[in-house]
């Protein structure tokens, strides 16, 4: 403590503060809290349990995003002879500043052991260089509260707002410790605006070759083009004036795969600034997210989550068999050895030894409680240990006994 601090401390000591709590207020508040607790809904559904922490929510969101990326990557595989057309199309959008579209595909959900399907419909929007908006237009039947949920990212300010019309609540997040892994290098970096959906859709539309003629789509004259490759059929509705796609359908001759549809595609059109505002709509109760993990844990969480999701994807593609060792995901061509090693290394020592350990899940184990990846530690860390489970969700486990039981 320096002189300034000591002086101030003495000054404070000399002041008589009336800060004794009032037991009447404490007791009344206690009653109010008990009433409030009684009104709290019980969190018994699997989804709710999984989604109870922000980190697991992010992990779950990342599962969806990665699955979509895989799908879109697959969609975006260049169709023969398309590169010249694509180059011309992509050249047109170099000046494009905005993008929006509605994405639709069939989604499976699980609630209390029961499985069902629903049509996932969501709206994506972005405005370069750093604004993004996502709107859930539908939700699985057991969770109607997510319908209309809007998330707005401001990567420049490193802030995020999420609000739900269902209960008129809004939550504000600090994104200063939101990281992602660069797929090409394995480097950890701060999250930033991702324009790849737009670029891949354009690439896809540039690859279609068979002209099916002109039709009217929502009062607009469009040309329908189609391509088939292997089991994949891609149909693109292209605006005759701009040459941009306005709708894309991607389906497979194999009926077991659900089609993916992109509608209302708008490229470089005016998007109202208000759509990206970080102010919640009037009448919404705003809260500030209180779950700020230490920055170091967020970095490790990003790495563990990244590897965990690739392991889950590996299992999805291999009859539910997880890799026997992490090197298998590199052998399978999912990521390179270089990327794998970099992701396994400490955030501040990207070329150093692994700080994350993998253990294949035991046969018959419950995926939501079976740890597959965890942070290596010597002495139990004060802030806990990051772990990823076989269902793809991640947790920061602070109770050493619990962790040791999980990996026993």
């Amino acid at each position: 403590m320096n002189d300034n601090e000591r002086q101030f401390e003495n000054f404070v000591r000399g002041i008589k503060f009336d800060d004794t709590p009032n037991s009447d207020h404490r007791d009344k508040l206690e009653q109010s809290l008990l009433c409030a607790m009684a009104k709290q809904p019980r969190q018994i559904q699997i989804w709710r349990i999984i989604m109870k922490s922000r980190i697991t929510k992010l992990a779950a969101a990342a599962v969806i995003i990665i699955v979509l990326m895989l799908g879109i990557n697959y969609l975006g595989t260049p169709i023969d002879g398309a590169s010249t057309v694509f180059a011309a199309a992509i050249d047109n959008v170099k000046r494009a500043q905005t993008f929006s579209c509605i994405e639709m595909f069939q989604m499976t959900y699980e609630d209390g052991g029961k499985r069902g399907k629903y049509l996932m419909k969501q709206k994506w929007m972005f405005k370069e260089p750093d604004r993004e908006r996502h709107e859930k237009l539908t939700s699985a039947p057991p969770w109607p509260q997510y319908i209309g949920e809007v998330t707005i990212w401001h990567y420049g300010k490193r802030q995020r707002l999420q609000f739900r019309p269902f209960d008129k609540t809004a939550e504000f997040y600090d994104m200063s410790s939101d990281y992602e892994i660069d797929d090409k290098t394995g480097e950890l970096k701060l999250t930033q605006l991702d324009t790849s959906l737009r670029d891949r859709l354009l690439k896809l539309s540039a690859g279609v070759v068979e002209d099916l003629g002109r039709v009217e789509l929502e009062g607009q004259s469009v040309r329908i083009l189609q391509s088939r490759k292997d089991k994949r059929i891609t149909t693109v509705w292209i605006d005759s004036e701009t040459g941009y796609p306005v709708q894309i359908e991607h389906k497979w001759t194999d009926q077991s795969r659900s089609p993916v549809m992109y509608t209302s595609i708008q490229i470089d059109t005016e998007l109202d600034e208000a759509l990206f505002s970080l102010e919640p709509p009037e009448g919404y109760a705003l809260s500030v997210d209180e779950f700020g993990w230490p920055d170091e844990k967020k970095k490790i969480m990003t790495k563990v989550k990244y590897l965990g999701l690739w392991c889950v994807n590996y299992a999805n593609d291999n009859d539910d068999q997880f890799p026997s060792e992490l090197a298998d995901i590199a052998t399978a061509g999912i990521i390179t050895n270089e990327v794998l090693n970099r992701v396994l290394a400490a955030p501040d020592d990207p070329d150093g030894p692994p700080v994350i350990r993998y253990r294949p899940p035991r046969a018959g184990a419950n995926p939501s409680s079976e740890v597959i990846l965890y942070e290596i530690y010597g002495q139990w860390p004060e802030d806990g240990v990051v772990a990823c489970f076989a269902d793809g969700h991640c947790e920061l486990i602070v109770n050493q006994n619990r962790f040791e039981q999980l990996i026993r």
């Binding site: 601090e5 404070v12 002041i15 206690e30 008990l34 700020g292 802030d383």
Partner: protein, 193 residues
């Protein structure tokens, strides 16, 4: 209700090392939750009153803090130390929100000064200092008020303050230093006026 009675008759019965177990039990056990609440009520109230300088406002904000805890408790996964930091973060946000919403800086000062004027003569010197401190503190930015309050009124360590405000201990140290320098200038001016 025996547990509650024990808590009532013994202040600070909830020790840090048992809090983690209490936190786990409090998720499904109202009695455990009450025990946890009673163990932390005073700290939250004191923080609020040291930031707001007004008992009634501090009680209102304390209520909001614990109602928020009830609402979000199912999402909290941490040990006793993290629970304490989490409580302070909620309290800090609630106090800042209160100050923003009500724009009560002037009213608070006025009320504080009136209250001070009514103090008995033997407390005059302390009361004058208090009034000056209130004025000086409330003129600081909220982030400076937070670090000063946590450090000098709640006697927290720099590392714990860092966890609460989401910065590094080094940043807290420099914020504290800047805040004290501002406060010192302000206090010197006001005390000599």
């Amino acid at each position: 209700m025996a547990v509650i009675a024990d808590v009532c008759s013994s202040e600070r019965i909830v020790h840090v090392d048992t809090d983690s177990q209490l936190i786990t039990r409090a998720r499904s056990d109202a009695v455990a939750f009450v025990q946890l609440y009673r163990g932390h009520y005073e700290a939250v109230f004191r923080y609020c009153v040291h930031r707001l300088f007004e008992r009634h406002a501090a009680e209102d904000v304390t209520s909001q803090v614990f109602l928020k805890v009830v609402e979000s408790f199912h999402r909290f996964e941490g040990n006793s130390q993290q629970f304490r930091s989490w409580l302070y973060r909620i309290a800090n946000n609630a106090v800042n929100e209160h100050l923003r919403k009500t724009v009560r800086h002037c009213n608070l000062l006025k009320a504080a000064c009136e209250q001070v004027d009514n103090e008995v003569a033997d407390c005059r010197e302390s009361s004058e200092k208090l009034a000056v401190l209130k004025q000086a503190m409330l003129s600081l930015k909220p982030k400076y008020q937070t670090v000063i309050t946590l450090r000098f009124f709640e006697n927290l360590k720099l590392t714990e303050i860092a966890k609460i405000v989401g910065s590094s201990p080094g940043t807290v140290r420099s914020q504290l230093s800047r805040a004290l320098a501002k406060l010192r200038r302000k206090l010197a001016t006001d005390l000599t006026d």
